[in-house]
């Protein structure tokens, strides 16, 4: 089908851009920033599936990010597991937690769902802070090992860049496939009208739960990659603010847009860097941007800019 070949071309192009960037850029600083964008893209992608397509809000996804990071930290450092084994174990644990949390929480709706996820996120964060014997408490967790696969060491910035973006491309493909399938249509149906979706046979509760778990898995993967990149984690990185950051990325990029996740993640990662000179004004600008985009471009930058472009085009046609 024509749509499919166009998509294949786009993804091939994307892979090429990543390959070339990785080869051309040598500064570890820039490579690390780009790698952070990749990790943030994974976070945004996961939440986007939940918020953008299934239409459910979560204000606590920082918790899953944290479980991914702390999970692998604990397994690799305390239990001396290989990181490549720690990954599936952590993912499995996150799936379990997401199921347990999701089943009662997704019965709530709208505001209440947001509140439930908020509460869950705060409790997990407090757990990270207080359970010092396991997590290292507020002072954090040190000594997380770097990743290596046979002869390839991912301790170098370049190799880690490729690793993370490899996962990102894979995740894009996974999301794309889900969206353009029976499942994706059912999700969009739920978003458009839950009552009607149920009336045509969609098991809305089960599907919402599945997407919730999927989005948690993405966040946990991001956590895993984050932990083995920075080697030190602390509860602050997985706080309420972190959850809000993930929501911001989805919102800025545009909900229900896979590429929007990339845009949102980029903006959010680069903004503090650009504002570094004005570190005082970082929060002010950050909050201002959030408000302005939501007030004037509530569909996010991607959709909003596209809409403006279309409208401008229509004006010229007259």
């Amino acid at each position: 089908m024509r749509l499919m070949t166009r998509t294949r071309i786009v993804y091939a192009l994307f892979a090429a851009v990543i390959a070339v960037s990785g080869w051309a850029i040598n500064s570890p600083y820039y490579l690390q920033i780009l790698t952070f964008i990749g990790i943030n893209t994974l976070l945004a992608l996961g939440l986007n599936m939940l918020m953008g397509y299934a239409g459910q809000i979560s204000l606590g996804h920082g918790a899953f990010y944290g479980i991914g990071a702390y999970g692998t930290a604990i397994l690799t450092v305390h239990w001396h597991l290989s990181p490549w084994l720690a990954l599936p174990v952590t993912i499995f644990a996150v799936i379990l937690v997401a199921f347990i949390v999701g089943i009662p929480t997704l019965k709530l709706s709208g505001y209440y769902l947001g509140m439930g996820t908020l509460g869950f996120g705060m409790i997990v964060n407090i757990l990270f802070r207080e359970w010092s014997s396991v997590t290292g408490g507020a002072s954090g967790f040190v000594g997380i090992p770097s990743l290596e696969l046979g002869p390839i060491s991912f301790a170098s910035a370049k190799n880690y860049f490729y690793l993370v973006w490899g996962f990102v491309i894979l995740s894009f493909i996974v999301c794309h496939r889900i969206i353009h399938s029976r499942v994706g249509r059912a999700l969009r149906a739920i978003h458009d009208g839950e009552k009607a979706a149920a009336a045509v046979g969609v098991d809305t509760s089960r599907l919402k739960l599945q997407v919730f778990v999927l989005s948690a898995v993405f966040s946990a993967l991001a956590g895993f990659l984050y932990a083995h990149m920075v080697f030190f984690i602390s509860p602050e990185s997985f706080s309420f603010i972190a959850s809000i950051r993930i929501v911001t990325m989805v919102v800025i990029g545009g909900m229900a847009s896979v590429w929007g996740s990339l845009l949102g993640a980029s903006v959010l990662t680069l903004l503090p860097e650009w504002l570094h000179a004005f570190s005082e004004f970082e929060m002010v600008v950050y909050g201002l941007i959030l408000m302005l985009i939501m007030i004037f471009l509530p569909k996010g930058l991607t959709r909003g800019l596209l809409d403006m472009y279309e409208r401008a085009g229509k004006k010229n046609d007259r």
């Binding site: 709208g110 209440y112 439930g116 509460g119 929060m283 909050g287 941007i289 959030l290 408000m291 509530p298």
Partner: protein, 291 residues
């Protein structure tokens, strides 16, 4: 016995604070169906204004309190005018994120104006603490409780006896019906924002002497106040009351008898509990009384 009383006093003091904050949340939700995530920041502004007026400018207490509350109310009104009324697509999720953005913005402003240090001011009066059954009750705690009672009574009178209050309540129950009888809906929303912000300011004012105030104090306390409002029943004055005190007391006893690490968790555990068991809050069980 002495320990029990001490925790109890601590509990009702914090409870009164949570109740005032919860009232702010409930009041706004009642009139606009909006949950203002920036409410905690209004509390912070109230405290920091007191720090400036009393601590830096050495104004006498009463004018400082009045000025602080006025400043926060103004901030609330400006926020409503600029950020809420101008919204093109007032869906819930959009509004939630706007208030979240406002929260971050205000925190940034707070940091610019007051820096990262923590301040405090002396208590409202220099009375020595009361000794009741071996437990100490600070004079400031009594002030907090008294002021809270004044507010609760004042609001009751406002909503039940004054025309404006009744108009607000009518608007909350049915915008259309209120519009038909001539109640200006937009004004009511503005009023609700102003009043809610004022409540936040009051909370900030009464907290200032009992805690170290800094630019980032708003988030946690706002969230806790919100939990209290949900616990009691969002949109209900009595709910805010019950929720606030219940949270304060459970928190104090949790800290005292279980562990201090539990302090912050108490609010959120209660939130989850009430969401799963009875999302309408405690009040919804008794009757569906609105503000």
């Amino acid at each position: 016995m002495q320990e029990f009383l001490q925790y109890f006093f601590s509990g009702i003091t914090n409870g009164a604070i949570y109740a005032v904050i919860a009232i702010g949340f409930s009041m706004l939700y009642n009139s606009t169906e909006l949950i203002n995530f920036a409410h905690g920041e209004f509390v912070m502004l109230g405290s920091m204004c007191m720090i400036t007026f009393v601590g830096a400018m050495h104004l006498p207490l009463v004018p400082a309190i009045a000025l602080s509350i006025a400043c926060v109310t103004a901030a609330g009104l400006i926020f409503e005018r600029l950020a809420i009324r101008t919204v093109k697509n007032p869906e819930h999720i959009v509004l939630i994120i706007i208030t979240v953005g406002a929260s971050i913005f205000l925190r940034g402003v707070g940091m610019i104006i007051w820096g990262k240090d923590a301040f405090s001011i002396p208590p409202f009066s220099s009375h020595p603490p009361l000794d009741i059954g071996g437990a100490r009750l600070l004079a400031q705690s009594l002030w907090i409780i008294v002021i809270f009672l004044l507010i609760a009574v004042g609001l009751q009178v406002f909503y039940k006896k004054t025309l404006t209050g009744k108009a607000m309540e009518a608007n909350a129950i049915s915008k259309r019906a209120a519009w038909i009888v001539g109640i200006p809906s937009r004004l009511m929303v503005t009023l609700a924002f102003g009043l809610s912000a004022a409540m936040g300011g009051v909370a900030g004012v009464i907290i200032a002497p009992v805690t170290m105030c800094s630019y980032d104090m708003g988030t946690m306390i706002g969230l806790k106040g919100f939990c209290a409002a949900m616990l009691g029943g969002l949109g209900s004055l009595w709910g805010a009351l019950i929720g606030g005190f219940l949270l304060g007391i459970l928190e104090a006893f949790g800290v005292g008898f279980v562990s201090s690490g539990l302090k912050d968790a108490t609010a959120f555990l209660l939130l989850l509990f009430i969401l799963y068991v009875r999302p309408g809050g405690i009040i919804s069980a008794v009757d569906v009384k609105r503000f």
